[in-house]
């Protein structure tokens, strides 16, 4: 582990129960970040998605990818990240390929396509073991002002 959850919280604004990355296991320069989400047996979203047949919602896999992308942004633009900007997800192209179940170790690999001060583009791949469970291309925005317009 390179970053624990406390270190992650120091650069991303999300908190439980809406924090979907537990640790960062790899950081390759400003190009690539690998994050892990340990999908617990008792995650709150499993109560309703679905009763008796728990599956992690695809939108939350996408959210986990987006949160890991913020970590990547923070290593690209540390000074801006330290100023606690607002992050928001814009256009996303995503494929969900396989279910994520309680007990899975969800690995999120984020590769930078382009990062500028106010926006970023990243390619993301989510895996469980050898299985690719989702792929995405994410475009996200960064707003230093406190209000998102």
């Amino acid at each position: 582990m390179i970053w624990d959850k406390e270190k992650i919280k120091s650069v991303i604004p999300h908190r439980e129960p809406f924090l979907f990355i537990d640790e960062i296991t790899e950081i390759e320069g400003t190009q690539r970040v690998v994050a892990v989400k340990y999908v617990g047996q008792q995650e709150s979203f499993f109560q309703g998605h679905f009763p008796g047949a728990p599956i992690m919602p695809g939108v939350l896999i996408l959210e986990a990818m987006a949160q890991a992308s913020i970590v990547l942004y923070s290593v690209c633009k540390p000074e801006i990240a330290q100023s606690n900007p607002k992050y928001y997800l814009s256009k996303s192209k995503v494929e969900f390929l396989s279910p994520v179940l309680p007990g899975d170790k969800l690995v999120l690999e984020i590769n930078k396509v382009k990062v500028i001060d106010s926006a970023g583009v990243a390619d993301a791949v989510a895996t469980v073991g050898d299985r690719v469970v989702a792929k995405a291309n994410l475009i996200f925005g960064i707003k230093i002002d406190t209000r998102i317009k």
């Binding site: 814009s90 256009k91 396509v113 382009k114 583009v121 475009i139 996200f140 925005g141």
Partner: protein
């Protein structure tokens, strides 16, 4: 309009969801088409991928219309040659 110009025009039109005919060389991306930083980076990322070039962050605000984007491509391609 040559083939590269047509290609760039089509790419930008697809991303901005603006008809190619309306994307004249001097229509301003930011003031006329309301391009924000998210759309700008989408164009830049697509452009870099297609032409295998890097557009430095400082150059992005200087490319304000299709004509300037086409000129930028020509400059980069010339320096590659």
């Amino acid at each position: 309009m040559n083939s590269i110009e047509a290609e760039i025009s089509k790419m930008v039109s697809d991303i901005l969801e603006v008809e190619v005919e309306k994307l004249t060389p001097d229509v301003d991306f930011f003031t006329d088409l309301n391009v924000d930083s998210l759309k700008a980076i989408e164009i830049v990322a697509a452009f870099e991928k297609k032409y295998r070039i890097i557009i430095p962050e400082d150059d992005i605000p200087k490319i304000r219309n299709l004509g300037q984007l086409i000129d930028y491509t020509k400059t980069i391609k010339k320096s590659d040659a």
